[in-house]
């Protein structure tokens, strides 16, 4: 009996749990996967995200992250033609990235569809900006996707437990063979990580069904996500533009509300007619690189394997599937080392 405990029920935790179960259930004598979390949808960081697939503009310091982004996009794109796409929170969406000056093309320009520069007439729509891109990408709405993942996991007999894990040791003592650490911005509570910081964001969700395109502005001097953005979702539209490193305040604040509202209304004047549905804050789990690696912990006489999968910053949904597959691969290595595989796993 292989006992796997996944800590964390955001997009990383649930997708990793699903990936592992899908790949290894049939090749193991018995596999028990449990998800422990102190927050479930709609209270996770994933639920606050707008859900647009778009990596950061600059190449990641770990080139594997670029691959994981691409794998995620291709995986989601292959699901677009399915009748279930909307139930998963998945849809195609096109839109604009705007800049105040010419910038090099992003490394992901051939991953998204139809990438091109903006024409003069298109730029005329945005008087504060003089350069930009147009492309077709994907929306993967956090809340709907987490609900969908939860259903798939429940079908597979994965069990969920509302609990605050205080230490890896406590989970190991209860009999977990492998722990998957998907605790996001709170990973430091289980094991100190000075590289991990909150990148606080605040967003306003509005009802503006006439908006069909995303509009993301960039201000290289201020940094990513510090410039207004408008991202239509499957039902509601997300307005944002806040990124505060080191700020642990989970309450919405008025100055940030005003920054978002004024910035977005300037970009899109019709927003004045939009009804505000709600406002949320969340912490992007910011790290120079994603931590996706194994670690063996010794508790008394037994070794417990931990697979860390956290630190996805503002691109969790964008990169999640590639990381889940990588985590599953690491899990497979553990099984091989322990001679637990009945038959070789399929190489997905």
């Amino acid at each position: 009996m292989m006992r796997v405990v996944v800590i964390g029920a955001g997009v990383i935790g649930l997708s990793t749990a699903l990936c592992i179960h899908e790949r290894y259930r049939s090749v193991l004598q018995s596999l028990e996967v449990m998800v422990y979390a102190d927050r479930f949808t709609p209270l996770t960081t994933t639920d606050v995200a707008a859900g647009l697939w778009q990596p950061y503009l600059s190449e990641p310091s770990n080139p594997q992250e670029a691959n994981w982004n691409q794998q995620t996009f291709n995986y989601l794109l292959s699901l677009i033609g399915s009748p279930n796409a909307a139930n998963m929170g998945l849809a195609l969406v096109s839109g604009y990235n705007l800049f105040r000056e010419a910038v090099p093309d992003p490394y992901w320009k051939d991953i998204v569809l139809g990438f091109r520069k903006l024409t003069v007439r298109e730029l005329d729509m945005f008087p504060d900006y003089s350069y930009g891109w147009f492309n077709t990408s994907l929306i993967l709405e956090g809340r709907k996707y987490l609900q969908w993942l939860t259903e798939r996991l429940t079908e597979r007999g994965v069990k969920f437990f509302l609990r605050k894990v205080e230490s890896f040791q406590e989970v190991a003592r209860e009999g977990a063979d492998v722990i998957i650490n998907c605790t996001g911005v709170w990973a430091g509570a289980l094991q100190p990580d000075p590289l991990l910081q909150p990148g606080r964001g605040q967003i306003i969700k509005v009802d503006a069904p006439w908006l069909k395109h995303f509009i993301i502005t960039h201000d290289p001097e201020r940094g990513i996500y510090k410039s207004p953005y408008i991202i239509p979702g499957l039902q509601a539209t997300t307005l944002g533009g806040i990124f505060q490193l080191g700020n642990w305040s989970e309450t919405n604040n008025i100055p940030d509300h005003n920054t978002i509202w004024e910035g977005c209304c300037r970009l899109e004047p019709t927003l004045k007619d939009a009804k505000i549905i709600g406002e949320w804050s969340g912490f992007r789990p910011v790290r120079p690189q994603v931590r996706l690696e194994r670690e063996q912990l010794c508790f008394g006489s037994s070794n417990t394997e931990v697979i860390h999968n956290y630190g996805h910053g503002g691109f969790g949904l964008t990169i999640h599937w590639g990381c889940a597959q990588e985590a599953a691969k690491l899990f497979g290595k553990i099984l091989e080392e322990r001679n637990l595989l009945r038959i070789p796993p399929s190489h997905l």
Partner: protein, 341 residues
Amino acid sequence: MDTVRIAVVGAGVMGLSTAVCISNMVPGCSITVISDKFTPETTSDVAAGMLIPPTYPDTPIQKQKQWFKDTFDHLFAIVNSAEAEDAGVIMVSGWQIFRSIPTEEVPYWADVVLGFRKMTKDELKKFPQHVFGHAFTTLKCEGPAYLPWLQKRVKGSRGLILTQRIEDLWELHPSFDIVVNCSGLGSRQLAGDSKIFPVRGQVLKVQAPWVKHFIRDSSGLTYIYPGVSNVTLGGTRQKGDWNLSPDAEISKEILSRCCALEPSLRGAYDLREKVGLRPSRPGVRLEKELLAQGSRRLPVVHHYGHGSGGIAMHWGTALEATRLVNECVQVLRTPAPKSKL
């Protein structure tokens, strides 16, 4: 200078936009819009309102392009203003897809819409039955919001709006000096025009807010047009069919064709059937006519027959109709011994 009294017959997109253009451009006029049907019961209310123009066989391409460009520019200015939502004008991107490579790969209107280009191979993968496509951004102008917005403008310029069914244009004489005939299919009777005929279109207006792109098969028969608060699925082109009642079999068939292009539509809910009769003609009738009966004279400017291109061409043709109205006004104001018409 006497006020010239102008009657505009018809309160669809043509009647209302012409009324607005006249009030903007022709001084010294009073305008009365007269119709038996108003929004939301006009043909313009059923139309999806996508700015993807048809080709009129009897009209020079340059002229059609000018009409389309004038309309696009007019609506583009609205969409970039804070009024966009009131006026029911939105921007939408998407694809027009072909089952075989067209002889004309770049249509005449390619540089009027935004960002026009051919679809990439990756984009075409979404449509396995299609081998070629256009990707672009265009506008959608929705009757149920746009017509009331135009009506407000008519009233704002002190125009009058009257509900009345006109059986004969002479009913308007002598109360009015000039008649602008925007009666669409009604011109079969009102203008004795046998060239105009209905092309019946049935559509479904559904809830599917996750659909953010338009998809149009180049045949014009199957299309998915996301709007402000619903998605229009179409359609049919039934020549000579006057039946305004929706056909349930056709609705099923439209849904099936659209789901083949966009499978997620199987989750669409709140489906509503609508029927509109496109006022079709080999070319738009945009000309003056001086009706004469005994000693009575009634100058008429005809402005109808846009078929499937009503919304797409309306402002351009309204501007031209207004120029013709202006010519009529000049004649009325010129004390000439002989009529110049």
